[in-house]
């Protein structure tokens, strides 16, 4: 029995961490957030590490690892608030294509980091603002909002009945418009479909669900990493900042804030590990665990984001230390792919507690 990361998984984490520290420091994140450049160089570097092909089988040019390995990468990306299309392109889209048994050559291209797939499934999860996409006679119409990745080459689109379709970003009749959010480390967009030729990928709800659950686990892992970094920054600041002739971390009011963050966050690590593990190895718990990991990390993450900022005083509120990048990342993860209340309702439903 071993509940924890293997030596290979720790190595994977270290490798990605080293790469991000060198190639995607906060200064780079800031330039991307300001729109001075985009995330393509980072993604290229991650492709050299094999990250886009993490879940894609070796026979197709990928690495053939599992959801827990992907969660470790997501956590590391969250820790560094890295701009990268990881969750959609490296996790959700490959799972959809692999689950449907299609597009093996595209998977090879994706594994090289040469093709990005965005995810348009907000309306299948819970439609807002009357958005929605319909499929008839081989064509998609309607619109999808808060689609993951405004720089993608193609999109997976989910209709309300959990069917999945694939369109190229350049398909005639498809309009794409960037939707700015508070989180400038990753992009979202709106897709408008005017009779767009689309390829049916899957009508099997199991494919949709596996893709969605894995995506939720990745959001949870991303928040775990981001919250851990916010906590680490708060603790470091509390050890160094002096007021009233003492470092502020020696004041109980501050020490207890730090302790509360750690006490809330530490069990989240085990929750995320297990939820990720369940996706590949405990199918009967996969849905419930994905929902709980997503919702619980949303709550704890929100508390840590707020509290870590408070520990920094006015400095936390400024752009200078950049703590707000973590605050906003955690805030975005909370809403995307299902807000906590919505996801908890699903957790109750999958246990048969309600209709």
């Amino acid at each position: 029995m071993e509940f924890g990361l293997s030596a290979e998984q720790t190595l994977l984490q270290d490798t990605v961490t080293r790469f991000l520290e060198a190639q995607a420091p906060l200064a780079t994140v800031r330039r991307i957030a300001a729109g001075d450049t985009n995330d393509k160089e980072i993604w290229r570097g991650m492709a050299d590490l094999g990250i886009p092909g993490l879940l894609i089988p070796e026979a197709l040019g990928g690495v053939g690892l599992g959801i827990l390995d992907a969660a470790i990468v997501a956590e590391t990306l969250g820790y560094h608030v890295t701009p990268a299309p990881f969750i959609g392109t490296a996790v959700m889209a490959p799972l959809a294509f692999m689950g449907a048994g299609t597009h093996s050559s595209l998977l090879g291209t994706m594994a090289q980091g040469d093709y990005r797939v965005g995810i348009a499934m907000s309306e299948a999860i819970g439609a807002r603002n009357d958005a929605g996409v319909r499929f008839a006679a081989g064509k998609l119409s309607g619109k999808s909002i808060f689609v993951l990745d405004s720089e993608a080459d193609g999109y997976l689109v989910a209709t309300r009945n959990q069917h999945l379709y694939f369109v190229a970003a350049t398909a005639p009749g498809l309009q794409r418009q960037i939707l700015t959010t508070v989180d400038k480390t990753r992009t979202t967009c709106e897709l408008r479909f005017n009779q767009v030729d689309a390829e049916m990928i899957s009508t099997d709800p199991a494919v949709y669900i596996r893709m969605l659950d894995a995506g939720r686990v990745m959001q949870a892992a991303d928040t775990l990493g981001a919250a851990q970094c916010a906590l680490d920054q708060a603790v470091a600041y509390a050890k160094e900042r002096k007021q009233f002739g003492r470092v502020i971390g020696s004041f109980q009011a501050v020490k207890h804030l730090c302790a509360e963050m750690a006490a809330g966050l530490e069990p989240c690590r085990a929750l995320v590990w297990y939820a990720a593990h369940a996706q590949d190895h405990v199918p009967e718990e996969a849905r419930m665990m994905a929902c709980h990991a997503k919702a619980h990390l949303a709550e704890v993450g929100q508390f840590v984001a707020k509290t870590a900022t408070e520990v920094h005083g006015g400095m936390g509120f400024t752009d200078l230390v950049g703590l707000h990048f973590w605050f906003k990342r955690i805030g975005a993860n909370r809403q995307l792919l299902g807000s906590p209340a919505l996801v908890r309702a699903e957790a109750a439903r999958v246990q048969g507690l309600c209709a």
């Binding site: 293997s6 003492r246 020490k255 207890h256 302790a259 006490a263 530490e266 309702a345 957790a347 109750a348």
Partner: protein, 395 residues
Amino acid sequence: MDLSYGSEYGVFRQQVRDFIEANRDQAPAAGARGPAGLAWQKLLIDNGYHSRTVPKAYGGYGAAPDILASRIIAEEFSAAQLSTGLGGQGISMLTPMLLEMGSEAQKLQFIQPTILGEMVWCQGYSEPGAGSDLASLTTKAELDGDEWVINGQKIWTSTAQSADWIFCLVRTEPQAPKHQGISFLLFRMDTPGIEVRPLVDMTGDANFNEVFFTDVRVPKHQIVGERGQGWQVANAILGHERGSLAPPDAAENRLKGIIKLMETETLDGQRIMDNPIFRDRLMKLQGASLAMRFNDMRLLSARINPGQDARLAGLIVKLQGTELRHEIEGFAIDVMGEIGLAYEDNPYLRGNGSWQYQYMYYLGLIIGGGTSQIQKNIIGERGLDLPREPKVTAN
């Protein structure tokens, strides 16, 4: 990640299940003493389901330490909602401490009757002036020939009213720095000079007491460790106590109970389970409770795989576990609304009144064994390496 316990444990698990199947009708209610409780306790020890690793010479089952086997026993008994035998401070704290720091004679004298439930202990640490700041305790013991003479007062001493013996912290070296002047004594509660006054707590029960010592004479050899080492001895047990106050299995069983409650209780004719607000609160608690379950698995794993670092995961357990449990019990009361207020002989009582009782009981556990605030100090200082409070200079 490898969650299997290995095939040899499959056989073991089956044995535990067979035992439970064959004997479950003899099981008393959890924690019950009385003849049925003692007989069950003996049956458990004889079969290796209690005091499993306590050596045979001291009355235990004598198995080699095997964390997974112990875990499987706990899992199966919890799943069957069956009493795992007696607990209490003698069994869960004093016995492991004696095994670690007691003399051979002490082990032979005390462990067997303690684990059989024939010798009941209480823990005499806290004093009116020494709670969180335990090391400032002032109950003193002076050597007079071959006897310690004890004078002073303890408070919050759980089960002192029914205990046969007490393990007690006393000041023996008044000149030494406060942590180095304490000794750890064992003595009978019927020794002349001991007066026990029960204190009624908020549940309405008198679970704890004030204990007064007036010239209580105790044989010199009834000390654990050396003179002045009492603080180290006591700390060895505090670790045991903190980890065991709010086990995740028990919290999950309570959540299962709440699910049943929500499926039967109604508000304006609608099942509470069909009310999305209550369902959302249930799911929040379930998520938090799952996090604690897997945190516990991580701790278990770290004990088997010494390379794993789970220090912080261990430090947060007392704080998070007791706070969560209190919240769970309080939620059940909200599910019932005013019916949740029912207590004692009220005809609308649900679950024997255990929801209100546990709601209060767990507030006691939030305070006892090191308060939540003290836990946060510990997490901050030992877990996150934040500086300690500056010492207040005497004035």
